[in-house]
Symmetry: C2
Subunit: 648 residues, 2 copies
């Protein structure tokens, strides 16, 4: 029915936000086109911090090992401040993340590699690739079709133009030593790149193409063309200090060059050291402050050499010998965002297209990908007829809140870094403030504490809290469990793959107790009933776990209950052979081969080991609702508010 | 100088033994050709057990995650025996491996996938692929060149013939239900396969090709053509019982269908259950015993249906509904091996070409790959002029011993399984024997306890033992450490990649003690000296860690010593920029982000935390020599016996 130029979703921009969305949609088999005006993807430099939460999501798409293997791992933060003898002293060591923050580390790796992993995963799921050297020239939305969600309705029409090589290659200023200097923009880190071309795609240069889409997503960066079509602009704090960024191979006697280190000097400014893959180190070097009257910097005087010189002054008395510069840029600190992220829930913005800030916190790429991670499954649910279009409202509610928090975080962090490190009496007070601030935001910075407020997809918190470790609106905090059937240890969230399914985790408690056993039987009977959410929201021909997967975790020892003792619906037969789903049943216990590694998930999440609870987890691993086994009917009621019944 | 038909190594046979060797040689950039007479690789069935040690080696080549992700994990062994009520009862649960056996699990996955991983890794290292549908027809060795190891000497000439499609496709007997029945051989598991062809390679059918090689390795299975050219045959125990093997998807109420389970019935025989990937289960079903006079079985009466019927009788009263048969075969138990593995250290045998046995123990594929893992680096060392050809003698010494142990193990295991489970008084005595036997060989079966006797590459054990956890001749037992420079936790053996390098691990002890500190300085001075092994055996233009990598592990807390405090040779500068090797220095400590995960490597290996020791590890992770820091000169003496000096 759909013509070859009709798509469910067209994504403009193939940076991390656009690629993460494309990956989600590829995984869920949504008809998607993704275009990018640039002829090559990023190859060096740019964003590099990959937070724990982003690794969790990468795991759910199957590519986390590539991040773990290629990235530099950040385990500790050190602060250096001016010492009384005129040198520098290490005044603090801190874990980079509070122990237990995530089952994955915090890694650092160039954006180009992360884009590579996303591209490879897209291709592996359904062959989706990026149409490069393609830019939109016109977008119209048909008001008559806005609320028409029938399969043949494509309300958005987009004109795309194939660019020539000159148009598709980012402007770069060559400088004498062979480096390419990027265009520096006041509201975003520069969009610089260099290196070899990937394939050649200019045969169609100048040609125009018209496509229709149910949804268009602008993931096209701080100067977003899509955002301009919506009449929106980035608003907020203007710049107040200038920083140089340098990725380099160095020889130094500074001992913490492979740790994330902040160095505040005797009056030469401050620097942030971030170790990188392939022996690289990234330096964020403070290069000046803006006139409070808003006068602009003279950027022309700044070169890699001047950044290096400044860095060397800050590092004194340590030697800093820069052997190779891989990439560099300049940026001015500023925090700006768009007040809206959508036009009528048909056109959306994601990533830098609606929030920009300084790169130093290592948050931008992560937040951009998490924007898409929140959006992708919702669009898919609507396209697939699983859920009401009303759920699309939650995207803006959730991600505008995060963007606001990010800008606030970045504003404070930038002030901390740019502020004078020494008070008039010579004590490093501002450093103490910095440290305190850093400790206070550690978990937020890992991405694991991002919290959405109650909305259609996040139920209001209930009292008493049956799982205090699983607040509504936050990602499911994982702990180790063991599978009943094969004694294999898993982190429970290892089972929460990004496949579009909801998860219902039955913390069944102590099922050796007859009373608790009865409760579990009753809950299972509800789930197996025609009125229950599984049979209501699952198409008749599909496996019973294909929309909502039920996972059961008992608090008893693994060997105390045989799989056969559980009601069928908790380990349902699978098509085509009717073999049982042995991967649904778990215990809060250890495996025989790792007897000392019990995860104690009940204890860590604060769940009563006798009575348990029920946890509904969204396809993006966000906790939607926690209730008691007795109240399991509330799961169905909650889902009925937005899920579309598939059976009569 | 070498013509396009001259190779350092020609490998005949691309099963697990041949591919593991090809992978080693690809990794070490040795000019290699690998041929296989079959037109397709194995696709289903065949060997499936992948022991912990094999995963360790897979890690060292970079593909362990694929095994972990695709394989079924074996964590527990259960034994079922006849119960008094006429049913079956679970009489024992055991961990599949003793806790702490390895940092990797025991997994089960079809041989076809393992071959795929090896092929992919080969291709990724240097583009090496298999020449399929190619068989050798003639092999000659020039006696005059036997001891000529000059670069232009190619003593072995091999004629290869390109096969037609008919010749290259294994004979299969189609049976009514669509299964392909393999040819069943008395001395090996059948070489059955089915499925689609990979590429087409018959353009040259009938053509002959002559190649010359420095070394030829026959990894061409139990009916090895290469072995026959050497005039060797497999000798040993003939068959005495017949087993059916079935890979199937089942529906059953037997609760341990996802555990490795042995079931001994009330007179209907016994069965071994091994859970597999993709919901498959492998059943080894006892189908009969041989007449002691050696009369052969009537195989024609055995079909998948008769195997299923037997299995169902054994499983009573549990129901066993076979929904889909993926692969099946028959085998007779027998243990046979060749008394020799080489002709003049120019032609070698590896894998089934010199040892065959029953498949039930899950050892064959592992042992075959470990044969090649022992051989590959030695050949490479000789080809590269790093070591004397005399080291090739150690291949037979090491692997014939392992083959003998394997046959002994298999003989006992087969007798245990085939023996009557019930004694005359009705007690499951033989089951107890079985259990006891299983416990006694668990570690050996994991591959981690394989022990080579002293030879040119394994020094005799010294007393007192300075690292009782690291016996000479066994693989290095890994524990977690933390890197000094970046606080990253590692299993120490994660650093022992299969890149052809030796490792010298300096357990430096407590270097805060001035006396111990002095010892470390002296050891470092020796290693940095022109007479030391690093400068003697490393080519002048190469990095100092390119032949022998020195890793230092202190027993002190990580933050007690700065990297800068270590002598240069322990973290040497790297080409081309001179940046320091921050990945050489470790502490027996935890990382700040995982403070409870200290590996306690000194304690586990029994090393004195004050005085430490020095451990020389071969490129195949085998411990060659442990000595004190005072005796570090012995490392040089040991290596001088076979390594070739590269510098004056």
């Amino acid at each position: 029915m759909a013509s070859s130029s009709d798509y469910d979703v067209v994504i403009v921009g193939a940076g991390p936000a656009g690629l993460m969305l494309a990956l989600w949609l590829a995984r869920l088999k949504i008809r998607t086109k993704i275009v990018d005006k640039r002829s090559v993807k990023v190859l060096a430099g740019q964003a590099d911090g990959v937070q724990c939460r982003t690794l969790e999501v990468a795991h759910s798409f199957g590519f986390v090992q590539r991040l773990i293997e290629e990235g530099a791992h950040i385990n500790e933060i050190c602060n250096w401040t001016p010492a009384a003898d005129g040198g520098l002293e290490r005044t603090k060591r801190m874990p980079d993340n509070e122990p237990g923050t995530s089952r994955f580390p915090h890694v650092v790796l160039t954006q180009g590699r992360i884009e590579r992993f996303l591209l490879d995963a897209m291709r592996d799921f359904n062959g989706l690739g990026v149409d490069r050297a393609v830019a939109p020239t016109n977008m119209t939305v048909d008001p008559a079709l806005l609320t028409d969600f029938s399969p043949s309705s494509y309300p958005v029409t987009l004109k795309l133009r194939h660019l020539s090589e000159d148009e598709a290659t980012p402007t770069q200023v060559g400088i004498a030593n062979g480096l390419h200097r990027s265009n520096v923009l006041s509201d975003d880190e520069a969009d610089a790149m260099h290196g070899t071309r990937e394939g050649g795609a200019y045969a169609l240069a100048g040609e125009e193409e018209t496509v229709r889409a149910k949804f268009v997503v602008g993931a096209d960066g701080a100067r977003s063309w899509v955002r301009k079509q919506l009449g929106l602009s980035l608003e907020g704090e203007s710049a107040n200090s200038l920083w140089g960024v340098l990725d380099a191979v160095v020889v130094t006697d500074f001992p913490d060059i492979r740790l994330k280190s902040s160095v505040q000097s005797h009056g030469a400014g401050s620097i942030l050291v971030v170790p990188r893959e392939n022996d690289l180190v990234r330096f964020y070097v403070q290069m000046g402050s803006t006139d409070p009257n808003g006068e602009r910097f003279d950027r022309s005087s700044i070169s890699p050499e001047s950044i290096v010189e400044t860095a060397q002054r800050i590092f004194q008395p340590f030697k800093l010998d820069i052997k190779h510069i891989d990439w560099w840029t300049l940026y001015e600190v500023g925090q700006r965002m768009s007040p809206q992220v959508t036009l009528d829930n048909r056109v959306f913005l994601a990533g830098d297209a609606f929030h920009t800030h300084s790169p130093k916190a290592g948050q931008g790429m992560n937040t951009s990908m998490m924007d898409s991670f929140s959006l992708g499954w919702k669009i898919a649910h609507v396209v697939q007829g699983k859920a009401s279009p009303a759920i699309l409202e939650t995207y803006g509610l959730e991600r505008l809140k995060v963007a606001r928090e990010l800008l606030d975080f970045d504003y404070k962090l930038s002030r901390m870094f740019a502020g004078k490190p020494i008070t008039s009496d010579g004590k490093p007070v501002s450093h103490e403030e910095f440290k305190k601030f850093y400790e206070s935001i550690g978990k937020w910075a890992s991405g694991t504490a991002v919290a959405y407020l109650p909305n259609m997809l996040v139920a209001p918190e209930r009292e008493p809290r049956l799982a205090p470790g699983l607040p509504h609106g936050q990602r499911f905090e994982s702990h180790a469990v063991v599978a009943l059937a094969d004694a294999r240890p898993w982190h429970l969230a290892d089972r929460f793959l990004s496949d579009g399914r909801w998860r219902l985790v039955l913390f069944a408690g102590d099922v050796r107790e007859p009373q608790q056993r009865d409760k579990l039987e009753q809950a299972a009977a509800y789930l197996d009933s025609s009125a229950g959410p599984l049979r209501t929201f699952t198409p008749a021909d599909d496996d019973l776990d294909s929309v909502i997967e039920v996972l059961t975790v008992i608090s008893d020892p693994r060997t105390s209950v045989e799989p056969n003792a559980f009601p069928d619906v908790l380990w349902p037969p699978k098509k085509p052979y009717g073999s049982r789903s042995y991967d649904k049943l778990y215990a809060d216990d250890s495996s025989p081969v790792t007897p000392n590694d019990r995860g104690e998930i009940y204890k860590h999440l604060g769940i009563d080991a006798k009575t348990g609870c029920v946890v509904l987890v969204r396809p993006d691993q966000v906790v939607a609702l926690v209730c008691s086994l007795d109240d399991i009917g509330d799961i169905g009621s909650f889902l009925s508010q937005f899920m579309v019944p598939q059976q009569q």
